[in-house]
């Protein structure tokens, strides 16, 4: 019985390390953000389509989808406290859209990846930072702190510079924890 439990313990440790090995915040030696191989297994927050924050923008005829994923540990912490813990990682995955795919006649479905961006809360690097993954790159380059994404998220993020206002499963928890700012219009 003891031996069985010992073996189970070891097996489960290995399994946990294996399944979690890509879920942690990881940088390359030159400070780029490593794209976790399993980010598509992370918690999905929401998908928008053709979103724009610029009132002068021309409506897109072929609007992209924007999927947002968050690291599972950060998601569970947020659902308890309404706040993002240190080492939170969000990924924005932008995909093309098409309409007449297979038997679909109207509306739009998702196709190939167009762009990926990471948004990381890391106190060891001075707080939130954005990283861009170009053309299928597996490592993301830091956006300079003067890039407009920083000031826009700072000003308009409902919760701690993140756009919780667009993530329907998080809004109520953030509001209950008095960590939700009304924005826009």
């Amino acid at each position: 019985m003891l031996l069985v439990l010992v073996l189970l313990g070891v097996a489960l440790l290995v399994a946990q390390q294996k399944s979690g090995k890509n879920s942690r915040l990881e940088y390359s030696k030159d400070g780029k953000l490593v794209l976790p191989k399993d980010y598509r297994e992370w918690v999905f927050l929401s998908a928008g389509i053709g979103m724009t924050y610029n009132s002068d923008a021309t409506p897109k005829t072929n609007p992209p989808f924007e999927n947002v994923f968050v690291s599972p540990a950060a998601y569970r912490e947020f659902m308890k406290t309404g706040a993002w813990p240190d080492k939170t990682v969000l990924f924005l995955e932008v995909r093309g859209s098409e309409s007449r795919v297979s038997i679909n006649k109207d509306g739009r479905v998702q196709t190939k990846i167009v762009a990926i961006e990471g948004h990381v809360k890391d106190s060891a690097k001075g707080g939130w930072a954005f990283y861009g993954f170009k053309d299928g790159a597996q490592e993301g380059t830091l956006f300079p702190k003067t890039a407009p994404c920083y000031s826009c998220h700072q000003e308009n993020g409902a919760t701690d510079t993140t756009f919780v206002q667009f993530y329907p499963t998080l809004i109520e928890t953030a509001q209950k924890n008095h960590n939700y700012k009304e924005t826009g219009h």
Copy 2:
């Protein structure tokens, strides 16, 4: 050392059971499908918007989003074999959409849940079945086998009656495993 491993084994077993307790296929006593409390932590397959398979349908002015989630164990098995194992569960979560939310000016974002449907592969119940969750119900009622969803999925599902043609991360794996049917148009 032995004792530490034993305790670790027990702790990890408990943790695994806890985290997995809602991830398994579960029916109520009267045969309804129980909605897992954590289905939003399952693997996201894709989101469409305003999809319709009826060429006579009027385009929707306020099209709903359709998010699809699959049980993590079934997803991992599919990524290895290109096939759905027994006890696979997929959930379709339909959400309303809005445009001018917060600072968004164009395109659409997701809002409240409009409907939920489950699609379950269970050999103990004769194969695939559909369940509908009405008005926030936590248990889904079986759609009769004569409902059009069965014949449509049978005829048009790219892989084993599921619409893998709309799930971009699965298509290549299904094709490589010769488990992908071209459909439509």
